[in-house]
């Protein structure tokens, strides 16, 4: 049934339909509406599990870790500073191979403090061992949660999943969202039945100390689990498509790329704007397309390479920057193309940091620079007045 609701409410509804046993979270803008909505579902008796209101994101992640280790399906949500405060626990959850679903309402990292859309938070945690999926719109954001639990709890994977949705642009946007029935979700997502968990019936030791004789092997299995996630993500995405009739691509999704000479690559809600820009440019006879990277971890090198096989120019937009390197998606995508004889020209653009609007013109300008020299730290559309004042001030000190 379609409901005209806010993105956060859609996610809260979706999470509740996944029947989590324990939810623990700490409020932080722009994630707050998700946990407020879940709290209300709890207060109304619609979410029947335990809701643990904690004193920090660090404890929220820790409560979830303890709950999953005891055999409970668990959920948390956060963003930006909260995600960074969770960082130590998130590495631990992945290392201990505990399935968990976390929603990240993507937001900029301080300083300067800024609460608006940005991918710096998720990018900073790209090495923590979470599967990372990026939603383009609110229907996809909600749907990713049903799929995320199924991927996360698969025995060959057993890795936590971070569902990324752009803060405000998605979390606070109202759209008509199809929310399935409990029966439909139950038929898709079976109850969580872990192979091992903390129980007095069969005492086990979890989180033991592993020295140089085994640490590398354990970390190797973590890497293998990420590889195992490829076929599982594919299987779950296809099963979702069959049962619910919705499909957003698996690892990447291409838009008007059949004969495209230039392709814009991006993640998240900006794909909507990019598609509008592609339509506009196509009307003017420019052979341009768009590639959405939907699964960032595991990084779909093969799928990206195949998608860009016959393309002349690739322009990558990053909504984050690795300070000292530049665009992260750009850097990883370039790596994916290394060693192949027929590779496109690649350009990199840092766009939309801290909630800066990315407009159709931003995208058409970028497409117009196709074939330019690669510059991994090119910040697009910097404010000229601001920069003039800033440069003048810097000369005085």
């Amino acid at each position: 049934m379609k409901k005209y609701i806010e993105g956060s409410m859609a996610v809260a509804d979706a999470v509740n339909l996944c029947r989590p046993d324990v939810i623990s979270a700490y409020p932080i803008t722009p994630q707050t509406h998700i946990v407020e909505d879940l709290s209300q579902l709890h207060a109304d008796g619609k979410f029947k599990g335990q809701f643990v209101n904690v004193e920090s994101e660090f404890s929220a992640a820790s409560v979830c870790l303890g709950a999953v280790a005891t055999g409970a399906r668990s959920y948390t949500a956060t963003t930006a500073q909260g995600l960074l405060l969770m960082a130590e626990v998130l590495f631990n959850i992945a290392g201990m191979r505990l399935p968990l679903v976390l929603t990240c309402a993507n937001r900029a990292i301080s300083a300067p403090i800024n609460i608006w859309t940005d991918h710096s938070d998720a990018m900073a945690l790209r090495d923590c061992g979470f599967i990372q999926l990026f939603a383009e719109n609110n229907q996809e954001a909600a749907d990713l949660h049903y799929m995320a639990y199924k991927i996360s709890e698969d025995n060959s994977v057993r890795l936590p999943v971070m569902v990324n949705m752009d803060g405000f642009l998605l979390t606070h946007a109202f759209e008509p969202i199809d929310i399935p029935t409990q029966e439909e979700v139950d038929a898709f997502l079976p109850p969580y039945k872990p192979e091992y968990y903390l129980t007095t019936k069969h005492p086990i030791t979890m989180g033991s100390m592993v020295g140089e004789d085994g640490y590398m092997e354990v970390r190797h299995y973590l890497e293998e689990a990420m590889k195992n996630a490829f076929p599982v993500i594919e299987k779950v995405t296809n099963e979702f498509k069959q049962k619910f009739g919705r499909y957003y691509g698996t690892f990447v999704d291409s838009y008007k790329m059949e004969d495209a000479e230039t392709v814009i690559v991006a993640m998240g809600s900006v794909l909507g704007t990019i598609k509008d820009a592609v339509d506009l440019m196509r009307k003017n006879g420019v052979k341009v397309g768009a590639l959405k990277v939907r699964t960032f971890r595991p990084f779909p090198e093969k799928h990206i390479r195949e998608a860009l096989n016959n393309v002349t120019n690739v322009a990558i937009t990053d909504r984050a920057s690795s300070v000292g390197l530049g665009g992260i998606l750009a850097s990883e995508l370039k790596g994916a193309l290394y060693g192949y004889t027929s590779v496109p020209n690649v350009t990199s653009y840092i766009v939309g940091l801290g909630g800066r609007d990315i407009t159709v013109k931003t995208i058409t300008d970028i497409a117009g620079q196709a074939g330019a020299k690669f510059d991994s730290s090119k910040f697009v559309e910097l404010d000229k007045e601001f920069m003039k004042k800033g440069d003048e001030y810097l000369k005085t000190i």
Partner: protein, 295 residues
């Protein structure tokens, strides 16, 4: 008589005379097999769970240094959500650093939310796992590697953070202090705590021969001296009241301090050393008066 099997099995890698290993064994034996344990990073985790071995006969989990209480909160919430509360009691444990320093926030959160968890702090009065660095539980004028004695230093200048009072301030269901020197008292307190629903706190003094610079065989004796001098009162808080569970005929603190190399620098005749000793005596005297410890 048949020897009872310990729930913390022998063969782990703790130092000889380790007070922490004794305390942890006493606690889990008193708690029994229907217990799930969460553990901070530290000596206890290192010497009991070196992969591929484990000394724990009960379900046990270690995550990080500072989140034993929050992990325990998650375990308890899961047991409630899954209708498994009858299966096990939950014990969270950690050392003095993991409890009173880096883990204090998550401990406070666990208390405040009222989780049905018993938290045990094994206090050996410094970061022993990393090599005897001071913590907020290091006693006044103790010599540690980060509060060393020197030409202008007599060691750690601060006073022990009072974790018992901090627990009581959270209005916990039960709080107590204990030490391995008085094992029956310790076991009784564990069992009483576990019979009460809600958040509980037990602070256990566990001498570390290596860090305290005492002989391995002196662990029990030195822990008893901490009690008999008034420096470590054995207390209990229940039903809103604090009571002393062990009255003493106070001995001078010198009797306790002179057993330990970490206070060796206070043993001279200099006026400074005498002044420092008097300061420590004053701490004991205050405890004796506040908790009416005199027999």
């Amino acid at each position: 008589m048949e020897q009872k099997k310990h729930l913390l099995a022998p063969g782990h890698t703790a130092c000889a005379g380790c007070g922490l290993s004794m305390g942890a064994r006493m606690v889990i034996d008193a708690a029994g097999p229907n217990t799930i344990v969460t553990n901070c990073t530290g000596c206890l985790e290192v010497f009991t769970t070196r992969y591929p071995q484990s000394a724990w006969e009960v379900p046990w989990i270690h995550s990080l240094f500072e989140n034993s209480s929050a992990i325990a909160a998650g375990v308890e919430a899961a047991l409630v959500a899954l209708n498994r509360t009858g299966e096990a009691k939950v014990i969270a444990q950690g050392g003095d650093g993991g409890t009173a320093d880096i883990g204090l926030q998550s401990l406070s959160g666990m208390f405040e939310r009222g989780h049905d968890v018993l938290y045990i702090c094994y206090d050996n009065e410094a970061y022993m796992n990393t090599g005897i660095q001071r913590s907020s539980q290091t006693p006044t004028w103790s010599n540690t590697t980060t509060s060393p004695t020197g030409k202008v230093s007599y060691g750690n200048p601060t006073r022990k953070k009072d974790m018992f009072k901090i627990a009581v301030a959270h209005d916990v269901a039960y709080a107590a202090t204990a030490t391995v020197g008085w094992d029956m008292d310790l076991k009784k307190k564990v069992q009483k705590a576990l019979s009460i629903k809600g958040p509980k706190y037990l602070h256990v003094l566990v001498p570390c021969p290596l860090g305290w610079r005492v002989e391995n065989k002196m662990t029990i004796k030195v822990s008893k001296k901490a009690v008999s001098t008034g420096l470590f009162p054995l207390l209990e808080y229940e039903n809103g009241k604090i009571t002393a569970t062990r009255k003493i005929t106070p001995e001078p603190v010198l009797e306790y301090l002179k057993m330990q190399g970490r206070f060796k620098h206070l043993m001279g005749d200099s006026p400074e050393a005498k002044a420092k000793l008097a300061e420590i005596q004053k701490i004991a005297d205050e405890n004796i008066a506040r908790y009416e410890l005199k027999a």
